[in-house]
C-alpha cells in the first residue's frame, strides 16, 4: 500500500519524539494493527496528526470522528466527480441529473468537513487521500451504480455507527446533529441508486425490525480500504 506522507507541524515534533517510540513499542507489544481501536485510549494522544508506520492518523475524540467522515466524503466525492466527468455508456438524462446532484452534494460534504475541521483543529486535519478505483469499470452502468450503492450504503452505516462515538459535551452535540443532517441525505442517495439498479429496492438493507445497520469505523474502513490507497490509522478513534 502506498502511503501519503506529510510532515507534522513543528510545534508538535518535540512532543512526538518524547512519546513516539514508546507508543510504537507498545503497539508492537500488543501486536497492534489498524484494527485495534481501543489500545490508543490508554496511550498518549499528543500525536494525533502524525504519520507513523500506521498511516494517516485520523486522530482521537470528536476531531477523529470528523476526520473519519471527511475521509469517507473524500472517497464518495472523488467517485462521483469521475462518474460525472466521464459518464458510462447509455447514461440516461434522468440518471445524469441525479448523479450530478449527488456529485454536488458529496463535494459539498467533503468541502464542509475540510472547512469545519480546519476551523476547529487545523493541526489535526487529514490530508487529501489518494483513491484507488482500479476495480471499477467507469464505462459500465452496472459497475458504476453497484459501486455507488455500496458507497452510499456504507456511508449510512458509518454515520449510524459513529453517532454514539461523538462526545456529549462541548461541540459534540453540534457534531452529532451535523452527522444526522448528512446521513439522511446519504440514505436518500442510497435509496435512489438502489432504485436505479432495481426499482423498489430502496430499503432492502433493513433488518427484521425495519432498521438500517450501523458499522464501527474498523468495519467501515476494512471495506473502504479497497478504494483508498492512502493507509488510514483509526486506532485512536473513540470506541
Amino acid at each position: 500500500m502506498k502511503k501519503t506522507i506529510f510532515p507534522p507541524p513543528v510545534e508538535k515534533a518535540n512532543a512526538i519524539s518524547n512519546y513516539g517510540m514508546q507508543r510504537r513499542n507498545m503497539l508492537k507489544f500488543f501486536g497492534a494493527s489498524a484494527a485495534v481501536i481501543t489500545i490508543g485510549s490508554a496511550c498518549n494522544k499528543n500525536d494525533d496528526d502524525v504519520i507513523t508506520d500506521g498511516g494517516v492518523n485520523l486522530g482521537s475524540g470528536d476531531v477523529g470522528i470528523l476526520n473519519y467522515a471527511y475521509a469517507l466524503e473524500q472517497l464518495e466525492a472523488a467517485f462521483y466527480v469521475r462518474v460525472v466527468a466521464a459518464p458510462y455508456s447509455g447514461m440516461s438524462a434522468l440518471e445524469t441529473e441525479y448523479l450530478t446532484d449527488i456529485r454536488n452534494h458529496e463535494v459539498g460534504h467533503r468541502e464542509f468537513f475540510k472547512a469545519a475541521i480546519t476551523a476547529a483543529a487545523p493541526a489535526s486535519i487529514i490530508p487529501s487521500l489518494e483513491v484507488d478505483f482500479s476495480s471499477i469499470d467507469f464505462t459500465s452502468r452496472t459497475s458504476v451504480l453497484t459501486t455507488a450503492k455500496a458507497f452510499e450504503d456504507l456511508g449510512v452505516t458509518a454515520y449510524n455507527g459513529a453517532g454514539q462515538l461523538i462526545s456529549t459535551t462541548g461541540n459534540g452535540p453540534t457534531y452529532l446533529t451535523l452527522a444526522g443532517k448528512i446521513v439522511s441525505v446519504e440514505a436518500r442517495h442510497a435509496a435512489l441508486i438502489a432504485d436505479l439498479l432495481s426499482n423498489g429496492t430502496f430499503a432492502d438493507t433493513t433488518d427484521a425490525n425495519g432498521l438500517d445497520m450501523a458499522r464501527t469505523p474498523a468495519q467501515v474502513l476494512a471495506i473502504a480500504g479497497t478504494y483508498i490507497k492512502t493507509k488510514l490509522n483509526a486506532s485512536n478513534l473513540p470506541s
Partner: protein, 287 residues
C-alpha cells in the same frame, strides 16, 4: 475489580440500578467484551463511562423521546395500513403498490420495535384523523382514501417530517448509546422511504407546483413540491428551514465549484425539527 460487587452495593441505595443500564445482562456482556479486548489499564475508564451514561440522563428522558418517536411511527403505520388496499391505492401501478406495502410493513415493524424497547413505558396508540380535521373527520384531506395523488403527498410529508423529527431528537438520546444508534438506524430508513415516495410522485406528476419541478429524492430549498391549497400552510411547516445553506458557520454555496448553488447546498443537508415543531405539524392528525 469486581463490577458485580460494585453494582450490588449501588443496588442497596438505588434499587433501579440495573434499569439504568440497558439490562443487567448487557452490562455484564459489555464488561466481558471490554476486558477481553483492551488493556486492563483502560477498564476503570470504561466502567466510569458506563456509569456516567447510565446516570447522565434519567431513563424517563430517553423514554419520552422514544415515546415521541413511537407516536410518529403509530401515525405512519396506521396511515399506510389504511391506504394499502384502498380505492386510491388500487389505481396505482403494481410497483407503486408494492412499494407502499413494503413501507407499511417497515413502519409497523418500527412500532413493534419501539414498543418492545419501551415495554410497560410505551404509550398507547392515539386516535388519528387522517383528514387532518382534529377529529372532525372532514379536514382538508377528506377523501384521501380514494385519491392516490393525495395519498402520496401525505406520505411524502409524513416521511420527510419523520426524518427531521428523529434528527432533532438525536442529541436527547446521547446518554443512551443503544437507544441513539437504534434511533439513527430508523432515521435513515425514513429517509429511504422519503426518497422513494418522492420518485413515485415525480413519476405520477400530480399536484407538484410547476415552479418546484423537477421533484427530487432530496429536499430542494424549502420546497414541499406539493400543491394542495387547503392544507398548504400546514404542509409548508414540514419544509420550513430546509433552505439553509450555512452549516456550523460554513457557507456551503460555491464550495468546491460553482455547481454548488443554494439549491444544491440545501439539498446536501437535511435539517432537524424540534419536538414542538413536529407536534404542531402532526396535531391536526391526532384526535
Amino acid at each position: 475489580m469486581n463490577l458485580q460487587n460494585i453494582i450490588s452495593e449501588i443496588e442497596k441505595v438505588d434499587p433501579e440500578v440495573y434499569g439504568r443500564f440497558d439490562s443487567r445482562r448487557s452490562v455484564m456482556k459489555k464488561f466481558t467484551n471490554i476486558s477481553s479486548k483492551i488493556a486492563l489499564a483502560a477498564v476503570p475508564t470504561m466502567v466510569a463511562s458506563m456509569f456516567s451514561r447510565a446516570y447522565g440522563q434519567t431513563p424517563g428522558d430517553v423514554n419520552s423521546v422514544l415515546n415521541f418517536a413511537l407516536t410518529l411511527e403509530y401515525l405512519e403505520a396506521e396511515f399506510y395500513t389504511n391506504i394499502v388496499g384502498s380505492v386510491g391505492y388500487l389505481t396505482a401501478p403494481a410497483a407503486a403498490q408494492a412499494a407502499l406495502t413494503k413501507i407499511r410493513n417497515d413502519e409497523n415493524k418500527h412500532v413493534i420495535f419501539l414498543k418492545s424497547v419501551l415495554g410497560a413505558a410505551a404509550i398507547a396508540k392515539p386516535t388519528f384523523d387522517f383528514t387532518a380535521g382534529n377529529g372532525s373527520g372532514v379536514g382538508p384531506f377528506t377523501g384521501y382514501l380514494t385519491n392516490y395523488a393525495v395519498q402520496l403527498a401525505m406520505a411524502q410529508t409524513f416521511e420527510d417530517t419523520g426524518v427531521r423529527a428523529y434528527k432533532g431528537q438525536a442529541t436527547n438520546l446521547q446518554s443512551n448509546r443503544t437507544a441513539l444508534t437504534a434511533a439513527l438506524n430508523i432515521h435513515s430508513v425514513e429517509a429511504r422511504h422519503a426518497a422513494h415516495i418522492r420518485q413515485m410522485r415525480r413519476a405520477l406528476d400530480a399536484a407538484i407546483p410547476a415552479s418546484q419541478k423537477p421533484l427530487k429524492p432530496w429536499i430542494t430549498l424549502n420546497y414541499s413540491g406539493i400543491d394542495f391549497p387547503s392544507a398548504q400552510s400546514n404542509i409548508n411547516l414540514s419544509y420550513a428551514g430546509e433552505e439553509i445553506t450555512t452549516q456550523a458557520g460554513v457557507n456551503i454555496v460555491g464550495l468546491g465549484g460553482t455547481f454548488n448553488t443554494a439549491a444544491a447546498a440545501s439539498e446536501g443537508f437535511d435539517e432537524p425539527l424540534t419536538a414542538a415543531q413536529v407536534l404542531a405539524i402532526v396535531d391536526p392528525f391526532i384526535v
